[in-house]
Symmetry: C2
C-alpha cells in the first residue's frame, strides 16, 4: 500500500444504500404515529373545516387579472404567477403536424417538498390536508410544502409558507431527493417544479392541517378515490425506492405478481433492455422528433373561440380556459379569482405491465408534448381521453387503448380516479390504471414504446426531462403494489 | 422458490461491467493495428494533401448567404445550416444582469460518432483526418462521423457521409454511448449534438483519410498541440470509463497521483459529497439562477457594431462575427463561403484538482451560459480569456484564475493548446490545463463550485444538460492521465 496517500479514506462519503432500506421499512409500516382510522377521522374533520365556494365567472369579472390589450393573453397585474398565452406547435411526426392552442406559461420554479422524520425508527412523511379550487372534493392529501416562488416571496401577500425553510436551506438536513420535474406538457409551457424529500432530526411542531404518516399508509391511501394529490404523487415517485430495501425484509411477495414487482425495483434481476440501450432509444427519440414551439398571442390560437367566460376548441374537444371566483376560509388569502384549465372529460392513464422471466416490465411511450423542454418524455402506455376516440378521432385511436378498456377484472392491478393539480386545473380527473398482460403479449411494440423495469424508470426519475408527470404518478402507484400485505392495512 | 415465475431469468440482460474492462484495455494499449510512428507519417501525409485556402471576405461577398433585410441576421438561402442572430439575455445573478449579443442558431441535431471494433481483442477507434476552415493547422483528428442533418440529408449537395449508417441504424451493432450534449453556450443558442460510440463486429473498409487507433493512442495524441479536435474529445468523454476496468489490470498507478486518478474513476473509493447531494446542488443552482433568453434581430444587438466584414463588440472583447471564403480540394463540396465566430484571444480552460484521502477531486463550477437549454451546466474551474481581466474587466477577475496562472510547473498535470470546432469557429484556441493544488487548499469554495470525483462527472455525462463541452474536453484529458505509462508511448 505504499502508493497510498497517508490521509484516511474514511473522510469520504460512500454510496448510501441504507436509505432504500429505511424507505422500504416505512413502506411496510401500515401503522405509524397515527393509525389509519385516526387519520381518516382527522382528514374528514379537515374536509368539514375547509369549505371552498368556487363559482365560474366571466373573464372580465376577475380581480387583479385582465386580458392584455394586444395579445388577448390572460395576465396577472403583478406580472407574476402565470399567464394564459397561445402556443404555435410544429412537429415532424404524427398525424397532425401543426397546431395552435392556449397554454399556461408559468416560468417560476416552485417547490413541492415532503419533510420526513423518523419516529420509533420508522420514516414518516409530514402531509398536509390542502384545499384547492379545482379539486372535486376540495381537500386532498398534499406534500408538506407546495409553493410557487410568488407564494414564498410574498407576491401573494399571504401568510408565510410553513416548513419552507427545510427546503430552502437544506444544509442542516438530509436530502433524499431533489430534482426538477416537468408537469403536464399539453397544458403548461415548460413548467417544472422542484420535487424534494428532506429528512430532519429536529423537533418539528405539527401545525393545524398537517399529519405524520408512513409511506405504507400513503400507499394504501393512494388507492383511494381522489385522495392523494398530484404533487404528493410526483414527489413520492422521486423517492429512491429499490428492492435492495424491500428484499432485505421480504425476498418474495405474497404472490408471483408481487414478487415480480419487488424484483422489478432492482437491477440485479435484469431487464429486457440494457440501461445503455434505453438511454440510446431516448436519445434517438429526441433526435428524430423535431418539435418547434413558439409562444404567440392567445388571440392568434386558431380554432379556439372565446366567449365571455370560456375559450374552447371549435370541436368541443381537449379543454376550456375558464375563470373562477374562489371564496375560502382557511388559505393564504381569503378569496381570489383566477383562470383555470377545465378538461373536457375524464382521462385514462394506464401502464400495461407484464412479467418477463419473473420481473415486472412496464410499457412506456416516448411521447411528444409541446410543453416539454426537451422534446419527449416517457409517458404511460395509454394517456388520453377515450371519449375523443369514440367519435371525432376514431381514426387516430391510440395504441393499446383496447388492451386497457377490454382488460378482464383479474388483470387490473390498480384502478383509481385521481386528480391533476387543483390549483390550475378544474376537476381534471383521470382514471389511473395498471393492467397486466401475458408475457407473450406485445412482444413486438412500435418503435416509440419500450418495456422497462420499474428500476429503470426510478433511475431516470433522479434526473429531469425523462419521465412525465402522469407516468410518475403511476410509478408511485407501482411502489404501492410492492408492499401491500393483505389485511395489513387498517 | 415456489413463488418464482417458471420462465428462465437468463433471458434478461444484466448490467454490463465488461465494457469498462475492454475500454481500459484499449486505453492501456500504446500500440494498435498501426504504431504511433506510422500514424504520424499517415497524419502528416493527410496534412500535405488537405490544403485549404481560407480568406476573410466582406459579408456581401458570401455566396448562398445573405443579410436578412429586416433583422440583419446572416442566413443561408436554404434556410438550413445555421444562422447568425441576436440574443437578449437577462440573468438573476452575477455582475452583469442584462445584455444582448450575436449568437449562432443551429437547431438541427448533428451526429458525432466514433465507430469502434476489436482487433486482436483490443478496441480500436476509427478516426478521421479532417480539415476545417477554422483550424489553425487545417487538419485535426476527428470522429468517424461528424455530420449535421443538412450534411446527411443532402442540403449540402455533397458526397454521402461515409460510415453514417452505423450511427443511424444501430440495431445490428452495440451502442457504448449515445447522448445529446450541448456545445459552447456563449456562442451557440441551444445547439446540441448526438455523441455516439458504436461497436461493430462487421468487416469495415478503411477509406482514404481514416485510421484505426487504440484509446491509449488517442490519449497520448490528446496531449499534443491542437491535434485532437473538439468533436473527438467530447465523444471520448462519453465513453463509460471506470476504474472497475483499470483496476482489473492495474490496482495502482505509477505514482500516488496516478493512483488517485484511477481511484477517482470508481464510486467505491468514496467522494467528498454523496451523489444525491451533488444532484441536489445542481437542482438548487438551476432553481436559483433565473435566466431568460430571447432571440432578437441581429441588428438589435446593442454595443455590437457592424462593418462590411466584421460584427464586433465596441470594447474589442469577446468575439467577432466574420465571413470567410474557403477553397478546398478534398471535402464534401469544392469550395464555399460562410460566417464564422472569431474569438478575441486564446482562452484558458482549467480544472483545479486535488487528492482528498487519496482520491482525485475536480473543482467544477455551476455556470450560466445563455445558450444552455437548462440554465446551468458544470464547467471547468476556470473558463475565460485571461486577457480580458488584465485591463477591462479587472474587477470581475474570475475565482481561481490566479491559482492556475501562478501554478508551479510541478503542479501542472496537463497543459496543451486545443481548438474548438473549426467548422464554426475561426482559430478558437484554448489552453487546456489541469493544475493540482494541495489537499488543504480551497477546502471552502463559493456556493457555485464543488469538488467532485471523475466518476461523478462521468456518471453525469451519460445524461444531457449536466457537463459543458469545455469540461467534457478536460474529462477526456483526465482519462488520459489514468493510463499513461512512462516510456510506453512510441
Amino acid at each position: 500500500m505504499t502508493h497510498l496517500n497517508s490521509r484516511p479514506v474514511t473522510r469520504l462519503r460512500t454510496i448510501e444504500r441504507v436509505d432504500s432500506v429505511r424507505i422500504a421499512e416505512s413502506a411496510l409500516a401500515s401503522n405509524g404515529v397515527v393509525g389509519l382510522p385516526e387519520f381518516r377521522r382527522w382528514f374528514e374533520g379537515r374536509k368539514r373545516r375547509e369549505s371552498f365556494h368556487v363559482q365560474r365567472i366571466a373573464f372580465d369579472e376577475m380581480r387583479l387579472w385582465s386580458t392584455a390589450p394586444g395579445s388577448g393573453n390572460l395576465v396577472h397585474d403583478s406580472g407574476k404567477f402565470f399567464s394564459v398565452e397561445g402556443l404555435a406547435v410544429s412537429v415532424s411526426e404524427g398525424p397532425v403536424k401543426q397546431w395552435t392552442q392556449p397554454v399556461l406559461n408559468q416560468p417560476e420554479v416552485g417547490i413541492l417538498g415532503i419533510l420526513v422524520k423518523e419516529f420509533d425508527g420508522v420514516l414518516h412523511c409530514l402531509m398536509q390536508a390542502k384545499a384547492e379550487p379545482g379539486n372535486t372534493f376540495v381537500v386532498q392529501l398534499s406534500p408538506t410544502v407546495q409553493a410557487t416562488r410568488s407564494n414564498y416571496t410574498g407576491v401573494h401577500r399571504g401568510k408565510p409558507v410553513p416548513y419552507l425553510d427545510y427546503f430552502r436551506d437544506t444544509a442542516k438536513h438530509r436530502v433524499l431527493a431533489d430534482v426538477l420535474q416537468s408537469e403536464q406538457g399539453s397544458w403548461f409551457y415548460r413548467k417544472r417544479n422542484r420535487n424534494m424529500v428532506v429528512e430532519t432530526t429536529e423537533d418539528v411542531e405539527v401545525l393545524d392541517g398537517f399529519c405524520w404518516v408512513t409511506i405504507g399508509q400513503l400507499h394504501s391511501l393512494l388507492a383511494e378515490h381522489d385522495l392523494v394529490n398530484m404533487d404528493a404523487r410526483t414527489v413520492l415517485s422521486c423517492l429512491p425506492f429499490s428492492s435492495a430495501g424491500i428484499a432485505s425484509i421480504f425476498t418474495f411477495g405474497v404472490d408471483d405478481f408481487q414478487t415480480s414487482v419487488i424484483r422489478s425495483f432492482s437491477e440485479d434481476f435484469g431487464s429486457l433492455h440494457g440501461s445503455g440501450d434505453v438511454l440510446s432509444w431516448i436519445t434517438g427519440s429526441k433526435t428524430e422528433n423535431a418539435v418547434t414551439t413558439t409562444l404567440i398571442p392567445l388571440r392568434e390560437a386558431e380554432s379556439w373561440h372565446r366567449t365571455s367566460d370560456a375559450i374552447g376548441h371549435e370541436s368541443g374537444l381537449f379543454f376550456e380556459i375558464i375563470a373562477v371566483d374562489v371564496r375560502a376560509g382557511n388559505r393564504e388569502v381569503g378569496g381570489w379569482t383566477q383562470p383555470m384549465i377545465a378538461p373536457s372529460g375524464t382521462g385514462l392513464i394506464a401502464f400495461l405491465v407484464k412479467r418477463v422471466a419473473g420481473v415486472l416490465h412496464v410499457l412506456v411511450n416516448a411521447r411528444v408534448e409541446p410543453g416539454y423542454l426537451d422534446v419527449i418524455e416517457l409517458a404511460p402506455t395509454v394517456q388520453c381521453d377515450p371519449e375523443n376516440y369514440r367519435h371525432h378521432l376514431a381514426d387516430a385511436r391510440p395504441p393499446f387503448l383496447d388492451d386497457v378498456q377490454d382488460a378482464p377484472a383479474s388483470a387490473v392491478r390498480f384502478d383509481t380516479i385521481l386528480s391533476e393539480e387543483g390549483g390550475r386545473f378544474f376537476q381534471a380527473q383521470n382514471r389511473y390504471v395498471v393492467v397486466e398482460v401475458d408475457a407473450d403479449d406485445h412482444v413486438t411494440v412500435p418503435s416509440d414504446y419500450r418495456w422497462l423495469t420499474v428500476h429503470q424508470l426510478t433511475a431516470l426519475i433522479r434526473h429531469s426531462h425523462y419521465v412525465n408527470v402522469q407516468a410518475r404518478s403511476l410509478v408511485a402507484c407501482l411502489h404501492s403494489l410492492s408492499c401491500g400485505r393483505p389485511g395489513s392495512v387498517g
